[in-house]
Symmetry: C2
Subunit: 204 residues, 2 copies
């Protein structure tokens, strides 16, 4: 397969992959709720229902688990949002697709986002840090490109795509702070409201 | 005085107040940089250049110091932004004043905001928690009222003031994550750009 990060998400993963996923999912909940420092690999083993040796099979340290959550989330986000954006052609549709797909992925990966955006402990492995920066830049570039093409084609008012992109990501990222899955609105509905406000503005 | 929280900020505070302020300022930097759990009252005493007994004169525990930072910041924010809003009359001017005054107060109290919005440890004293909730609600109500009056007067398009208020606070609050004082733009300039985008929208 040419796209390992995407193929991993399609269909039924092999059993070993399920176990690694389960560890990462449990760790994201644990770190987000108790904080990285206050969480131990013993807590993680207990929560995931896996022996500590089972965890060591996949990860050498607690930090490695944390780093894997962040890298996997950023990769998955890019793949999911990129596919939604590629499915439409006009910049306004693409921007709406970007915002709603981001919100959808966030809601599905709620604990990993809480872990990444709220309970941030920082990454220690230089390789992971470097990879995370590259993934984040690639993602932000996708958004800036939609804005830049929209300005060029006359669909959007002249604006600074970097500043506008930052505003859009602020709206979406702050959701990790207040949004709870299962509440009155879905994350996608919130993103639609934000897109409406952003597209048409507040002035009557 | 009828308004102790405001009068405390006017003119030159007495010397003792300076010492309490110095402890809070130093603690905000310490908690924001090292995290609440990893910071000790010894670190704080050393950083503030005050004996540990001097700190105990004002605060019983590390948690009390944290709670005082949050309460003081929320009070100061309300006072500062409220004064800016009260100085103008039309809802669009008031909204711009709200956003720029918020950004100004954030830049001046950068470490307290980082402490409050990023390195959040949660409050343990029920009284402080209750007070913080009331202060936060009062602040959000000021914003929603500006929006509601603007809609009523026809200055703003019909929208849900609660959702729009949340969008505005998302833009402003996420600044604690990426903005650094002394960078290429002031926080006020960022808030003005956000207000322009919000008022006029992205569509050409």
């Amino acid at each position: 397969m040419n796209e390992p990060t995407r193929s991993r998400r399609i269909g039924r993963p092999p059993r070993a992959e399920n176990q690694r996923e389960r560890i990462l999912h449990e760790a994201a909940m644990l770190f987000a709720r108790s904080g990285f420092d206050a969480s131990s690999l013993n807590d993680l083993a207990e929560g995931a229902g896996i022996s500590k040796a089972g965890i060591y099979h996949y990860f050498k340290t607690k930090q490695d688990v944390y780093d894997a959550i962040i890298i996997q989330t950023l990769q998955g986000l890019y793949d999911h949002v990129g596919a939604a954006v590629a499915a439409v052609t006009e910049p306004p549709e693409q921007l709406l697709a970007f915002m709603t797909a981001h919100a959808e992925f966030f809601e599905r990966n709620y604990w990993a986002f809480r872990c990444m955006l709220i309970s941030f402990s920082g990454m220690t492995a230089p390789d992971s840090r470097h990879e995370a920066v590259i993934l984040r830049e690639r993602y932000e570039r996708m958004l800036r490109d939609i804005l830049a093409v929209g300005i060029e084609q006359g669909a959007f008012r002249a604006n600074d795509p970097a500043g506008t992109g930052r505003a859009i990501l602020s709206l979406l990222n702050w959701m990790a702070r207040w949004f709870h899955p299962g509440g009155p609105q879905t994350a996608i509905a919130v993103a639609r409201d934000y897109a409406d406000l952003l597209f048409h503005g507040l002035r009557a």
